[in-house]
Amino acid sequence: MPDKALEIKKRIGVVPDESWLFDRLTGLEFLEFVGRMYGLSRSMARQRAGELLELFALDGATDKLIADYSKGMRKRLSMGAALIHRPELFLLDEPFEGVDAMGARLMKGILQDQVKRGATVFLTSHVLEVVERLCDRVAIIHQGRLVAEGGMADLRTGGDTLEDVFVRLFWTGVDPERIDWL
């Protein structure tokens, strides 16, 4: 649907990889920029940007360039960028990678609030414990193919964790004990 691409993008909030942020902008400038790109007025975008920085405890670094942010700060800023226009669908790629415990708790809480107000959250993660705690439905992709899909209870049979299921299905690695010196 290339002709509707812009309209569709407006309804989606993507949490970008932290390396996709514009390093030479400040956190406030970046959020304001993203807000304006989603059609918010300059004043509205600036107001929301300030509030989001405060929410994610980044208000102490308002004038700091993103280049000087830590990985966790960049992740939180990415999350803020996804929220600024109140999207209906969130796409998150490894959202909790490199985020400290407080930040992760905050982000999870926000995502759960968004789900309560009717938004859909679509997240990818290699940390299956996070998936187990947050998701209603799970799809497992292996080597680019969708190999399993369903509700959490359907996939976790007999009290297995998702990690157990995944390892049972796909383990092809070498046993470390076979390497003498390791």
């Binding site: 290339p2 812009l6 309209e7 993008k9 407006k10 993507v14 970008p16 990889d17 390396s19 996709w20 942020l21 514009f22 390093d23 030479r24 902008l25 400040t26 406030l28 400038e29 304001e32 920029f33 993203v34 304006r36 790109m37 989603y38 059609g39 007025s41 300059r42 670094a61 308002t62 004038d63 700091k64 360039l65 280049a67 000087d68």
Partner: protein, 520 residues
């Protein structure tokens, strides 16, 4: 769709051509040096000419990479520092890379050495040894200076000013030559260099005069360069920018000068486009490479052309300065082109992907980058005019108008070609590396072919003025060139948009590619 050279043969030719031209020029210089130095009739000039020539070589070897933004291969110390390799070995590798990065200089020195040796009126058997020590001195010094220079150029305020002064020193030979060595510094270079001075000692050792004292001086210089280079190199390895005591988080006041300028510019455009333009202006102004080039354009550019303008002023009775302002502005445009035209996504690196997540069209993205470029070009031209007036050079309203008009007309063509090269030959660049070129080797090859082509419509305006001996002809042809430029720009923009639509992934992949431990 417009097509760039696409076949592999054309690519090879395009890559080879600038190298051939560059080394051809140095080969020619080396041949001239050989013929000059091997002629017995010139021998009486050598005690004066050789130290002067060697001094210019020292300038070029040490500061040339900073000036030309072609630093050549070097070790990536940050990556290598985690491995247990002795610093001494890394330093030796870096010294060797300083030779490889500037092979034209050993070539020239070899020609000098052979020329002196075959000169029958000299007993210059020691020339190869003396020149080898001179070359090693320069390589050790360059290995030590390289990283501090990069840091300074990428740093803030004081350090950046030091880097700029060093860059301006590269223009010194031009000034000295243009003033026929009448300035004190010129007289010093020509006649008053002491015997222990590196270049004089090398010349004396090469010409077979006072061999013992000359070689002792040279050895002292070499040992000093080795220890200085090794010390600075070790410091660079140990230095973690974030842990250094002078490190402060970079702050950028939203209400700063650039942000204010960005706000003013963006009042003229719809909000999404305005946001993109503001983002571009702020990002560029905070990029060390851009800042260095921007400052060079109105300082170094004026300094390089000033002696020629003064010379023309003495020779000609007609308004000789009329075109020099235009030439300086065009030169400034050339310097800026690397950062604002040819690889507009390069400084964004991975972040270029962000543009395609946001609900904005490719046309807007390119247009915003072009508008930011035009803003900086106008600002740069204004600064050149201001500097020109500050040093009390004559600038009539006509010459100022001509400078703006020609610069803007050239800008239209540069934007057209730049949009195409930016999407077809993108290249990820680290913004903090102030001395790195922003465009890739292939883009530079493309530029070598495209620059003369781009200049043709503007050159025709000057030809028209010469042919009809009237300014009206100049303005008419320039007006036509501008209209043609707008048409070419639109065509190039459509072509770039189509290319992105079909090759976005390829483009992003190129932008995110990273280099190994020995990067260029």
């Amino acid at each position: 769709m417009l097509r760039l050279p696409g076949s592999s043969l054309l690519r090879v030719v395009a890559s080879f051509l600038p190298l051939a031209l560059w080394y051809g020029i140095w080969g020619l210089l080396s041949a001239l040096a050989y013929f000059f130095l091997s002629s017995p009739g010139n021998a009486r000039l050598f005690p004066v000419a050789l130290p002067v020539g060697l001094m210019f070589l020292v300038f070029y070897w040490q500061l040339g990479p900073l000036l030309t933004s072609l630093p050549g291969a070097s070790l990536d110390l940050r990556r290598l520092s985690i491995y247990p390799v002795p610093v001494g070995q890394l330093f030796v590798a870096e010294v060797l890379l300083r030779f490889i990065a500037a092979p034209e200089l050993p070539l020239l020195l070899a020609a000098v050495g052979i020329g002196l040796m075959v000169n029958p009126s000299l007993n210059a058997r020691t020339a190869p040894a003396a020149l080898a020590m001179f070359a090693l001195f320069n390589a050790c010094l360059a290995a030590g200076l390289r990283y501090p220079l990069q840091r300074w150029a990428g740093g803030r305020h004081f350090h950046q000013a030091v880097a700029l002064i060093l860059i301006l020193m590269v223009a010194l030979p031009q000034v000295v030559l243009a003033t026929n060595f009448r300035l004190p510094v010129g007289r010093w270079i020509l006649m008053e260099q002491p015997g222990w001075w590196l270049c004089t000692a090398t010349a004396r050792a090469s010409l077979g005069c006072d061999l013992t004292s000359a070689f002792v001086c040279l050895a002292v210089w070499l040992v000093a360069a080795y220890y200085f280079g090794h010390w600075q190199f070790s410091q660079s390895i140990c230095r973690d920018v974030r842990a250094s005591p002078d490190y402060r988080p970079r702050m950028a006041k939203f209400g700063g000068v650039v942000a204010t300028l960005a706000g003013l510019v963006s009042v003229l455009f719809p909000d999404r486009l305005a946001a993109l333009v503001e983002k571009e202006l702020c990002s560029l102004a905070r990029t060390p490479r851009f800042r260095v080039v921007f400052m060079m354009a109105f300082s170094f550019g004026v300094m390089v052309f000033l002696p020629m303008a003064l010379h023309a002023g003495r020779e000609s009775g007609r308004d000789p300065f009329h075109d020099y302002l235009t030439i300086i502005c065009a030169y400034a445009l050339l310097l800026l082109a690397d950062v604002v035209f040819w690889n507009v996504f390069g400084l964004d690196n991975n972040a270029a992907q962000m543009y395609f997540l946001l609900p904005c069209s490719t046309r807007y993205i390119l247009l915003a980058k072009n508008l930011a470029a035009i803003t900086f070009v106008v600002l740069e031209t204004t600064l050149v005019v201001v500097v020109w007036k500050l040093i009390r050079m004559p600038a009539s309203a006509g010459s100022v108008a001509q400078a703006y008009a020609v610069t803007l007309c050239l800008t239209i063509y540069l934007l057209s070609a730049g949009n195409l090269s930016s999407v077809r030959l993108p290249y990820g660049v680290k913004p903090e590396r102030a001395t790195s070129a922003v465009s890739s080797g292939r883009v530079r090859a493309f530029l070598l072919l495209i620059y003369p082509l781009i200049s043709v419509p503007v050159v025709l305006a000057f030809v028209a003025r010469y042919a009809f001996d009237t300014q009206a002809a100049f303005w008419m042809v320039l007006g036509f060139a501008a209209c043609l430029g707008v048409a070419v720009y639109r065509l190039a923009m459509e072509s770039a948009i189509k290319w992105i639509a079909h090759h976005r992934e390829e483009m992003l992949k190129r932008l995110t590619a990273s280099s190994g431990p020995a990067g260029v």
